[in-house]
């Protein structure tokens, strides 16, 4: 697993990337995909919660919060650091 590309858990605040895979328990991955986090979707990390977890994403014009554990299941490509 570790030799694969970056995941959403690795993204720093302000960075954007494109989702290439949504892994994890079926209940979680299905929920994420139904909320619009799909391969091909552009996501941006907006901020991290005061205690370091969860994180806030901007996706499809709304804000979504997930834990780092779930974020680690979202594989990314085309990462663009904060401009």
């Amino acid at each position: 697993m570790s030799d694969e590309g970056p995941t959403l858990a690795d993204l720093s605040v302000g960075a954007e990337a494109t989702v290439v895979d949504v892994r994890g328990p079926r209940a979680v991955s299905r929920r994420l995909m139904e909320m619009g986090v799909l391969p091909g979707t552009r996501v941006k990390v907006v901020r991290v919660a005061p205690l370091g977890d969860p994180i806030e994403l901007r996706v499809r014009s709304y804000s979504l919060s997930i834990r780092r554990q779930e974020a680690a299941g979202i594989a990314l490509a085309d990462v663009r650091e904060r401009s």
Binding site: M33, G36, P54, R67
Partner: protein, 725 residues
């Protein structure tokens, strides 16, 4: 059933569905329950172009797929397992985040029900530079599209007109759009089974049922799904897995691909997507590492203060009113068992119910304001890290905190948690939080067994230290119980947090008011009747049967007193005789006999039969222990924890062997028992109401009683071993 046409109102959470429902139905809404499940089903009359239709609220949902019976409620509201489907469906969609909201709209259109998409918050969307071409969206989706602002009550007439047209549609339902490649084959295979189960339904409904089954079944907790449907889905999924396909992703991606097409044709948005300046600024402060935590602490402190302090005068008023009603009844009716039943059973029982209303109302004012403003989601965001450590959801924080005040409103507050298991763990653990009803017990026991000026290390008062220990024990017990339940009775897949952070909005007074009223109403009718019944039963146990010789003896004493005394002296003597008669009758009552019967069981905890009677009486509510002890020691039921005679009597109470009954060790043991025990019928009643079954409230009583017994046993026996007395 009436012939009135039904219209379902569906939408994502935070789409403004409740505001729209209230705007359309006015004050004429009724609240019921979806069958078998404790989710409110609100419905009301709505006049569309002169016709009155029945509008009903579908629970907020992001999708028509479901894993749990709770999520299935929304699906069944649109596609009932049997019986008629709604005649039309309104989908409320937030025009400022249309893509995600259209995901639900698309699934509802797919069912073939005549659909109206209400583009809500169109005013906000326009301000953000988002424009939606209603006609283009209507022609692409096959639904009617109306732009509205539920808050400003704009576009509601046009919505009514569109619904009227939709209701007139005879042949609606376009043929379902085929999916691509092997996914279409999969769905067709499921359709063969689904159409056998629902032979009269059109192709679109059968397709919707089949895609529902494909996406929902497999790792679900649904009940009542036909085995044939489960089999065909399991077969299809297994075959797909063999070839490395992910059917969930294929289906969801196909839907979003269609939505992306709709949005390209019908929506123009500014470069880089619509942004919300105000929400961004507020979030920068409210989720800031320092400012955010400070704001969080402040909001929670005010909530806590409200539950404790603001509700207090109101509770006092209710208690006074109950006392006055009891006094009036005693003065008006002739003395006798019927008057006793009315005063000690019925009026006291009604009082026991109504006394919760101030705290419930206050807590739900807070929750409604926090939820509607968008801050409740930030509460979960800020504190989730702490809660996830014990397997809870960030949204469990407000209910747990409220548990310090009272478990009854706190249990009701778990409604904000969507996942059933998360909700159950929270509501079953939070009665361990040291609620305000435990305080009188601590106060009385501490005053009896620890000298007021005893200090530890010369600084900290012993009483304060003991009190702090009890609160610390309660928090520890709550979190441990949650963690243990997560790993045992409510085991399940690791709970995830997938939480929308809605934009900040000004909460509407009308929404807040109707939410609070709904909560109070369901508490009074559902939990209230159980509380009233248990009050009467407990009163009966403590009062009956009576002993004839005791009654005769005290009647004689009263007659003597009436002859010998008069005026105030007589009043005083009669009051004393009443208290002593109650004391003398108690051993003969069912509760008194039960207290004796359980004495061997509770002796190892340092208790005797008199405390046993107190434990039985205080199942009504913890603080009742104080007045029950007042009866047991012949001082009267009106004593409170500050009562000097009661404190003195308890401090001098002795066991049969002549040793003191209340020692620091037995007092500590009694307090530990009260921290852990489920001594509260109202919590039982409200958990029955909120979980929908007797199974979970009875489980709560069982596990908490066991915990209390073991806790007090270890305290007392361990203390004896260590040489304490």
């Amino acid at each position: 059933m009436s012939a009135r046409r039904t219209v379902a109102l569906a939408g994502n959470p935070n789409a403004g569905k409740t505001t729209l429902f209230n705007a359309l139905t006015g004050a004429r809404a009724r609240t019921g329950n979806y069958p078998g499940i404790t989710i409110d089903r609100r419905s009301g009359r709505w006049s569309v172009g002169g016709d009155s239709v029945e509008l009903f609220d579908v629970p907020g949902t992001y999708s028509l797929s479901a894993r749990s019976p709770e999520e299935q409620v929304a699906v069944d509201a649109i596609l009932p397992p049997e019986g008629p489907a709604p005649d039309a469906v309104i989908v409320v969609a937030d025009a400022t985040a249309l893509e995600r909201h259209l995901y639900l709209a698309l699934q509802i259109v797919e069912t073939g029900r005549p659909t109206v998409i209400a583009l809500n918050m169109i005013d906000e969307a326009r301000k953000m530079g988002v424009a939606v071409d209603e006609e283009a969206l209507a022609s692409r989706t096959g639904a009617r599209v109306v732009s509205i602002s539920a808050v400003r009550r704009e576009g509601l007439d046009a919505l009514g007109a569109a619904v009227k047209e939709a209701l007139a549609d005879e042949a609606q339902a376009r043929a379902p759009e085929p999916l691509e490649g092997p996914l279409e084959t999969d769905v067709v295979e499921i359709e063969a089974v689904a159409s056998g189960l629902h032979p009269d339904e059109p192709a679109s409904a059968i397709r919707a049922r089949s895609t529902w089954a494909l996406l929902s079944l497999g790792d679900d907790e649904l009940v009542g799904v036909p085995a044939s449907l489960r089999e065909v889905v399991a077969g299809v999924r297994a075959r797909a897995e063999e070839t490395g396909r992910d059917v969930d992703r294929e289906l969801i991606a196909a839907r979003y691909a269609r939505i992306d097409g709709w949005v390209r044709d019908a929506v123009t948005a500014p470069e880089g997507g619509a942004t919300r300046a105000l929400t961004a600024r507020l979030d920068a402060a409210l989720t800031h590492p320092v400012l955010g935590l400070a704001a969080f602490a402040l909001v929670m402190f005010v909530l806590f203060e409200a539950l404790f302090a603001w509700s207090d005068p109101l509770i006092g008023l209710i208690e006074d009113a109950v006392g006055a009603a009891q006094g009036l009844t005693v003065a008006t009716l002739p003395p006798g068992p019927l008057t006793d039943l009315l005063v000690e059973g019925v009026i006291a029982g009604v009082g026991n119910v109504v006394v919760f209303v101030p705290q419930i109302a206050l807590l739900f004012v807070f929750i409604a304001v926090l939820e509607d403003s968008g801050y409740l989601a930030r509460v979960a965001f800020v504190i989730d890290r702490v809660m996830s450590g014990v397997g809870l959801h960030g949204k469990a924080f407000v209910p747990l905190l409220s548990g310090f005040a009272c478990a009854v409103p706190a249990v009701m507050a778990t409604r904000t948690i969507e996942n059933r298991k998360d909700r159950l763990v929270t509501m079953l653990a939070l009665p361990l939080m040291s609620c305000s009803a435990r305080l009188p017990i601590y106060a009385l026991v501490i005053a009896v067994v620890f000298p007021a000026n005893e200090r530890v290390g010369g600084v900290i008062s012993m009483g304060a230290l003991v009190l702090f220990t009890m609160y610390a024990l309660s928090v520890l017990a709550t979190l441990s119980a949650a963690a243990v339940m997560r790993r045992t009775v409510l085991r399940g897949p690791r709970p995830a947090l997938v939480l929308e952070l809605p934009p900040y909005r000004v909460p509407g007074a009308r929404n807040v008011g109707s939410a609070v009223w709904r909560r109070v109403q369901t508490f009074l009718t559902d939990a209230g009747t159980i509380i009233l019944a248990i009050t009467i039963v407990l009163w009966g146990l403590l009062s009956y049967p009576t002993s004839e010789p005791v009654t005769a003896r005290f009647d004689g004493l009263r007659a003597e007193a009436s002859e010998a005394l008069s005026g105030e002296a007589l009043e005083e003597r009669l009051g004393e005789l009443d208290a002593r008669e109650a004391e003398a009758q108690l051993p003969h009552s069912a509760a008194g006999k039960l207290g004796h019967a359980i004495e061997p069981l509770i002796e190892p905890l340092g208790f005797d039969w008199r405390i046993g009677v107190g434990l039985i009486g205080s199942f009504a509510a913890r603080e009742v222990l104080v007045s029950t002890l007042g009866v047991v020691w012949g001082i009267g039921a009106e004593e409170d924890e500050e009562s000097v005679p009661l404190r003195a009597a308890l401090a001098e109470a002795r066991r049969d062997d002549g040793s003191l009954l209340f020692t620091p060790l037995s007092g500590f043991s009694l307090m530990v028992f009260f921290v852990l025990a489920a001594q509260c019928m109202s919590t039982l009643a409200v958990i029955k109401r909120e979980s929908g079954t007797w199974k979970w409230p009875l489980f709560m009583v069982a596990y908490m009683t066991a915990l209390a017994y073991v806790g007090a046993l270890l305290t007392y026996q361990g203390g004896l071993l260590l040489g304490f007395t």
